[in-house]
Subunit: 135 residues, 2 copies
């Protein structure tokens, strides 16, 4: 059994700067990190929202999956992320149980955290991220 | 400005009992409440997942919005919820700012919490719930 704690939800938006004031000024969240992530073809930012976080993602690559999500869904909730203590061990354990992993090994994600994605087919229809926080 | 903290994400699933072991046995979450909600035409349960919660919803009313969501999307992430201290005051303040509310006044939701929904058009594409916890 793995100890998964709700870590963040991520929205796809067309424009980070246009969306940001709703989450910070209106909803009282605090931006903690913002990065261009070339390998993913996105720019993303993370905000603290109480004990959890909220991520905003915009596409940079017009042919990438985030651009396609924005086109087909018009934005909205993109994934949910759970924090784990040992992401490599968790991934290996999940794979042994037949869980379909998009990233069989962790990679460095937004904010320097180790992250890996689980396929929605193994996530009850939700694209699911695991996060091992870099403290 | 409102102090919104990430509270839970909700999934629509066809069968609560079939989905539950993945979240509890595999992911280490703990079921805290389960209710048939006749007015919403659903059965729902909430699990603790660290500092936050995860909700599972299944349709009871085959003509209702949750059944339609399951049909069109095949399940998955349904909404995101943020905890607030004073939900009535928050709703009135959001309405004054032109935010489109599905529930202009709070109602009693799962676990006895006061809840209200914001329309996805005012939630960056995400159906958004506010929760004032009943302690």
């Amino acid at each position: 059994m793995f100890d998964m704690r709700l870590h963040h939800v991520a929205y796809v938006v067309p424009d980070l700067d246009a969306a940001l004031p709703d989450f910070t000024g209106r909803f009282g969240m605090t931006e903690v990190v913002r990065e261009v992530m070339d390998a993913q073809g996105v720019e993303a930012l993370m905000m603290r929202a109480g004990d959890g976080f909220v991520e905003l993602i915009r596409p940079l690559d017009p042919e990438g999956p985030i651009a396609r999500f924005l086109e087909t869904r018009g934005g909205g909730l993109h994934h949910v992320a759970y924090a784990v203590n040992d992401i490599a061990r968790t991934l290996h354990g999940l794979a042994e149980q037949g869980v379909e992993l998009i990233d069989p090994e962790p990679r460095v994600g937004l904010g320097g955290h180790l992250v890996a994605f689980i396929h929605p087919r193994s996530g009850h229809g939700a694209l699911t991220e695991l996060v091992q926080e870099a403290h």
